[in-house]
């Protein structure tokens, strides 16, 4: 009896599978009909959910601002198709093929390089172009013809920060702290070390285990070693933890952070403290007034958007990047003259777009040509970001 039930269950599910699949397939295919679908390959659960959601926010806002695109005299509606890659490499391939299966014309995302690298082959197989928004690891685009990106790379960012540390603080000794096993943290630390040591500085690097919450030993070590700056390119939750603990330890050494620290959760942790935090980032609030006002109105008008942004309307750089990515996608569709994925892929390398985060163009590998980063500092009295300077890497000196 049990066996029969089991077999029946299996059959029903198998039918369900085909039904679901068929339903997914019956929708308008990319390029046909009057809708063009753009896939959004972002984490909304897992470790990077916080950043992923803010990036989606930028795309959604751009979508409400410009919901249609005119190609060849015909107006197409743009539909954003979401797939959650769960911030983990084992969920990413299926999320990627979910998008492929829904016949999107191109893909935006992801926040986090690991998932982009895991999903990349699926897009390549399907001949679908993907535009990375804030995945900064060199290996995302290298070796994958179909992956492009609009942000700068880890080595550039580390270069910028190392130069900033030496310019601003005349730092001789830097303490670097990253998560063990996280390619983003370790990559930045390694590049930072290269640049900083080449310029005659001394670097002390440490890693902490995943899910660590006590950072006081590390911070005390930095203090007792006499470090001039502390470089912490870590993900948001850890950054928050580090800031809180640095405050209770009364650490007055300046902190340098990468683009992940440009987040209002981290900012909140520094409010009302004596901490000095400097981050390198893609966008500085005030860079485009129209965008700032528009996105703030959008966030304030929608409670879901407000929650996704962490409960206030401070603009994260990733949101601006998501916004720019959407418009780059539109440019690509216009250049391709249709929603056909092969035509779009062929068109992307020649797309040039002046976004709120600066002008965007692609090099031979598919990376954005960028030579500047914004450095901003946490204004601890008011709990906002203050613009520090535009910093170039050592190559531009």
């Amino acid at each position: 009896m049990k066996k029969i039930t089991a077999i029946m269950m299996a059959t029903v599910l198998a039918f369900g599978m085909t039904a679901c699949g068929a339903a997914g397939g019956s929708g308008a295919a990319g390029g046909s009909g009057d809708t063009i679908k753009i896939g959004v390959f972002e984490p909304s659960t897992g470790d990077s959910a916080s950043g992923g959601k803010k990036e989606i926010l930028g795309m959604q806002y751009a979508n409400t601002e410009t919901p249609t695109v005119e190609v060849g005299g015909k107006t197409y509606k743009i539909e954003l198709v979401m797939a959650d890659n769960g911030s983990s490499a084992d969920k990413a391939p299926s999320a990627a093929s979910e998008l492929v299966g829904k016949d999107v014309s191109l893909v935006l995302g992801s926040y986090g390089s690991g998932v982009s690298m895991a999903g990349g082959p699926k897009f390549e197989e399907a001949g679908l172009a993907a535009i990375g928004v804030t995945c900064t690891n060199p290996n995302v685009t290298a070796g994958n013809d179909y992956y492009f990106r609009i942000c700068f790379l880890d080595n550039f960012q580390a270069d910028v920060l190392a130069n900033f540390a030496m310019d601003k603080f005349s730092a001789k000794k830097a303490y670097c702290l990253g998560e063990n096993g996280n390619e983003y943290d370790q990559g930045l630390v390694a590049f930072f070390k290269q640049v900083f040591e080449a310029a005659g500085g001394e670097v002390i690097a440490d890693s902490f285990p995943t899910n660590n919450s006590d950072f006081t030993s590390y911070l005390n070590k930095a203090k007792s070693e006499g470090a001039d700056v502390i470089f912490t390119p870590v993900s948001i939750a850890y950054a928050k933890q580090i800031m809180e603990q640095a405050n209770s330890l009364n650490i007055d050494i300046p902190f340098l952070g990468s683009d992940t620290l440009d987040d209002n959760m981290v900012l909140e942790a520094t409010k009302g403290t004596n901490l000095k935090l400097y981050v390198s980032t893609f966008y500085q609030e005030g860079g485009s007034e129209a965008f700032d006002k528009g996105i703030k109105d959008y966030i304030n008008s929608d409670s879901n958007a407000m929650t996704a942004n962490g409960g206030n309307d401070t603009i994260s750089a990733v949101t601006a990047m998501g916004y720019d990515a959407y418009y780059v996608a539109l440019e690509a569709i216009k250049a391709a003259g249709s929603g056909d994925k092969a035509a779009i892929k062929a068109a992307i390398p020649n797309v040039k777009y002046d976004g709120v985060s600066g002008s965007i163009a692609f090099d031979a590998v598919g990376d954005a040509v960028r030579d500047t980063a914004y450095i901003k500092t946490a204004d601890t009295a008011s709990g906002t970001w203050a613009f520090e300077k535009v910093q170039t890497g050592s190559g531009n000196k």
Binding site: K3, L13, D90, P93
Partner: protein, 397 residues
């Protein structure tokens, strides 16, 4: 006689299944205009590949937990060993510079494929032979490395009783992960960065000289390897060793009294299970097209354990069935729960990101509490008996 008939029908069943997979994979090329779900880029195939890989790991865990009564939670650790062994051996020499970019190349300059490539040639049929052979050798070595480690770990921990064994093996998996992520071993393990660029399932697709795919085998290959491994496990379970394992599970004292060497049999089961977990890990690396220690957490082990429980502890076919259901549900069918849905203009409440996993864990709890036998209990699907039942029904009519 009966046994022979049974194994004969099993062989037929598996061959039919494999043929079906090949057909399914290539059907879109044969008959144009099929719904999206049958296209090679459909999520169906991603799910099938992942489920095939996971089913091997689930069966290997079942061998240990269900048939030998050893409650081990080290599966993710052994998968990690397998995945890294495969990846390190298979990254082609010309890719190493790019993959190990932080460490200035790998400690080994050559790979298995390059070695065999020198023997058989690197293009055409010779290239295919060297790729397939090197993959097979790497898969077996991946299993062996996991097996050897299991032996070393087993010497101390297999003396422990049930839940102590569980927590000790869990601990070993965590230690292994920390070691593989260590930057100091970067020349071999690539530290925190992922190893990629090695042959994946898609490399098995047969292409013509202009690079077009003639015959797709990327889903068939994992199915073939996994069914081979599962057949081996089933043969082991049905042998005298398998009967000894079961007696150890049912009553250690009685088994010992019957002259079964407890430690030896536990060790044998542990090593064999880890061997197949290692092969499964290598296949997993092929599925996600990279190897990174971050993916092999205890969450993965728990996921596999839950699959085994859903399928029925002590049932190989149950584990396989449960894997396909589990993977399809979590990665495909239930994805709609993660985004807002409208039924006839009515917005379904609660649906937003993360809801899928909540529903999913509730379903799992219901199964654990009310259907503790799982789908199959300790029974197996018997193709011969199924056929007979249908025949009887036909006769009745």
């Amino acid at each position: 006689m009966k046994q022979k008939k049974k194994s004969f029908s099993a062989v037929i069943g598996i061959s039919v299944l494999l043929l079906f997979v090949i057909l399914l994979e290539n059907i879109s090329a044969l008959i144009p205009g099929l719904p999206q779900v049958f296209q090679p880029t459909s999520p169906l195939f991603t799910v099938l590949k992942k489920a095939a890989v996971y089913s091997l790991v689930a069966v290997s865990m079942n061998l240990l937990n269900g048939f030998t009564g050893l409650f081990s939670l080290g599966q993710a650790g052994f998968m990690l060993l397998g995945a890294y062994t495969y990846a390190i051996l298979m990254v082609p020499a010309d890719q190493k510079e790019q993959v190990y970019y932080l460490f200035g190349g790998c400690a080994f300059d050559s790979s298995l494929m390059d070695v065999l490539g020198k023997l058989f040639g690197t293009s055409g049929a010779g290239g295919a032979v060297s790729m397939i052979l090197s993959c097979l050798i790497a898969l077996i070595l991946a299993g062996c490395v996991a097996g050897v480690f299991a032996y070393l770990i087993g010497i101390p921990v297999l003396r422990l009783k049930s839940d102590y064994l569980a927590i000790a093996t869990l601990g070993f998996a965590e230690i292994l992960r920390a070691i593989f992520q260590w930057q100091k071993l970067g020349k071999v393990t690539n530290g925190a960065n992922m190893i990629k660029g090695f042959p994946t399932f898609s490399s098995f697709n047969i292409t013509n000289s202009s690079g077009q795919i003639v015959l797709r085998l990327s889903t068939f290959v994992p199915f073939l390897i996994v069914s081979l491994c599962i057949v081996l496990i089933v043969l082991l379970i049905n042998s005298s060793y398998g009967r000894a394992f079961k007696s150890v599970r049912d009553d250690e004292v009685a088994a010992e009294a019957m002259g079964i060497n407890l430690f030896r049999h536990k060790m044998l089961s542990f090593v064999i299970s880890s061997f197949f977990a290692g092969v499964g890990g290598a296949l997993f690396a092929m599925y996600v097209a990279n190897a990174q220690a971050k993916a092999f957490t205890s969450v993965m082990t728990y996921e596999i354990l839950l699959i085994v429980v859903i399928g029925g502890i002590g049932s190989v076919s149950g584990s396989v069935l449960a894997t396909f259901l589990y993977v399809a549900c979590s990665e495909w069918w239930l994805r709609f729960l993660d985004s807002e849905q409208y039924i006839g203009g009515f917005k379904v409440p609660l649906l937003r990101n993360g809801f899928r996993m909540v529903i999913f864990s509730i379903v799992i709890m219901v199964i654990v509490l009310f259907f503790s036998q799982g789908i199959m209990g300790s029974n197996e699907i018997n193709i011969g008996a199924l056929l007979n039942r249908f025949k009887k029904k036909e006769r009745k009519q």
